[in-house]
């Protein structure tokens, strides 16, 4: 059955609606706020330890903030959320990131 709204307790209904509005309209920053977006990926970025110079450019450019990096380590990609856009591979100065077809 459908719903019909006839205001009766304006104040009380407004308070409930305000809470509902805030819950649905606003979102706080949290990891993967839009779900496990890694499932969207067609190509998977893979880092070659031999070619990587640990410069951090991929970390800087990643639009989804799914690359973890420190100056001493290889970048680590969080595949739960990486959508496989390929920006990291594109900006890597030593071509150390290869986009591999997912599932191969």
């Amino acid at each position: 059955m459908g719903m019909r709204y006839v205001p009766s307790d304006l104040e009380g209904e407004a308070n409930k609606d305000l809470e509902d509005l805030r819950n649905k309209l606003l979102s706080r920053p949290s990891p993967g706020a839009s779900g496990p977006t890694g499932s969207w990926r067609l190509f998977r970025p893979e880092v070659s330890a031999a070619k990587c110079v640990k410069c951090g450019i991929c970390w800087l450019y990643c639009p989804e903030d799914v690359i973890a990096w420190t100056q001493r380590e290889l970048p680590r990609i969080d595949y739960t959320y990486c959508k496989g856009c390929g920006v990291c591979a594109s900006v890597c100065p030593t071509k150390a990131i290869e986009m591999v077809v997912e599932g191969e």
């Binding site: 709204y5 304006l10 209904e13 407004a14 649905k24 706020a33 839009s34």
Partner: protein, 394 residues
């Protein structure tokens, strides 16, 4: 309370000043320009402590006040015709983010041909965008409604943007005596805005309207729907409270009833020309025609119940439309038809592109309407009639 002689545009600016608006952003377009020009002068002279943001387009103007409103500020913008159409996308962002932005629209025809004179098609294009839409009849009412817009839109029970339309030139550039309440009186009646439904501020990051499941969109529309229903009661309450306190002599509520008591025939209109319709009603009453006028003050939320009551007690009604929806009828005509249960409703389209319609024209339109009804011709009313007495083709 002071009595000032003000043009409609200056009256709106005066109301915005009294509302102690924090941020103003607008792009000039005739006939609205005078409103923001006056506000710019007030800011320049230091009479008004607002941030005045100059922008390169109306889309940006509304985007600026959208952001400022999200940050908790009380805001204002104004536009007309093509400028309003250029804002169109942002209008929906404002509503769907539930920000109580206030905007004045000095109504103006949409081109081509270029035309700076009034009709209501510009303001009514935003009919479905979720804004509260008021139409003023006089300069005093444009002033009153602008001030009330803040109290209505910012009310926790509402939280919707408000547009106040005033007919370009007819109200925007015409001077009338206006009763202007004192600053302290208004400050007492309209306290600073409570930053609802949210306040964007540094250090507390959150996103407004992030991607979400489809049902969330529908549930948020339902949330706004309920607010618009409550807005009817809030409009009645705020306008009655205002009139009681400041006694400026304008009507309150969603519909003004003029000579409707015992009327057998009803005219329905919005905006400035309603004053001329009233004169026609007076003249026809003297001739023995039982005609009254229902002047719709708020097109959204639409006064369904009020009009249904008024329509059910008359034989027939005529809607005087200064707007048209091609392939159907006048916009107001179709709105009124939708709430009439049995009463036949005639729709007359007139005054498009600012064509002058005087009280004499209304006498002839209303007389014709009554005579047609009495001659049993109301069956022909399913097709709207264009009133263009200077055109001879029939």
């Amino acid at each position: 309370m002071k009595k000032k002689i003000l043009m409609g545009s200056h009256a709106v600016a005066e109301a915005v000043k009294l509302a102690r608006v924090d941020v103003i952003s607008a792009y000039p377009i005739t006939p609205q320009t005078v409103i923001v020009e006056r506000l710019a002068e007030m800011v320049e002279r230091g009479e008004l402590k607002s941030r005045y943001v100059r922008v390169e387009s109306e889309h940006s103007a509304l985007a600026v006040v959208y952001g400022a409103s999200a940050g908790g500020s009380r805001v204002f913008t104004a536009t007309s015709s093509h400028g309003l159409l250029y804002m169109y996308e942002m209008l929906w962002w404002v509503t769907n983010s539930r920000l109580p932005v206030v905007m004045a629209v000095a109504t103006r025809a949409i081109g081509p041909p270029w035309n700076i004179h009034t009709d209501h098609n510009d303001a009514l294009t935003i009919r479905d965008a979720g804004w509260i839409i008021g139409f003023a009849e006089s300069v005093q009412e444009a002033f009153d409604m602008t001030l009330q817009a803040y109290k209505i839109g910012e009310d926790k029970r509402v939280l919707l943007p408000v547009m106040i339309a005033l007919d370009g030139f007819i109200l925007s550039h015409t001077s009338e005596p206006v009763l202007v309440p004192e600053e302290e009186e208004v400050a007492d009646w309209l306290p600073p805005r409570e930053p609802l439904p949210f306040k964007v501020e540094p250090g507390k990051p959150f996103a407004v309207g992030n991607l979400g499941p489809d049902n969330v969109t529908m549930e948020l529309r339902w949330n706004a729907w309920k607010a618009a229903e409550r807005a009817k009661r809030v409009i009645e309450e705020v306008s009655a409270q205002y009139e009681k306190r400041f006694v400026t002599g304008t009507s309150s509520g969603l519909v003004e009833r003029y000579e409707t008591e015992g009327a057998k025939y009803l005219a329905i209109s919005i905006g400035a020309w309603s004053g001329d319709v009233k004169e026609a009603v007076d003249a026809l009453r003297e001739e023995g025609y039982d005609v009254g006028l229902a002047r719709i003050r708020y097109v959204r939320p639409f006064p369904r119940e009020e009009l249904r009551d008024l329509l059910s007690s008359v034989r027939a009604a005529v809607v005087l439309d200064r707007s048209v929806s091609m392939g159907h009828m006048g916009i107001l005509g179709s709105e009124v038809r939708a709430v009439s249960e049995r009463t036949p409703v005639k729709n007359v389209i007139a005054g498009i592109g600012g064509v002058d319609v005087s009280y004499k024209d209304f006498i002839s339109i209303l007389r014709g309407f009554v005579e047609e009804y009495e001659a049993g011709l109301s069956g022909e009313w399913s097709v709207a009639e264009w009133y263009m007495p200077w055109v001879t083709e029939r």
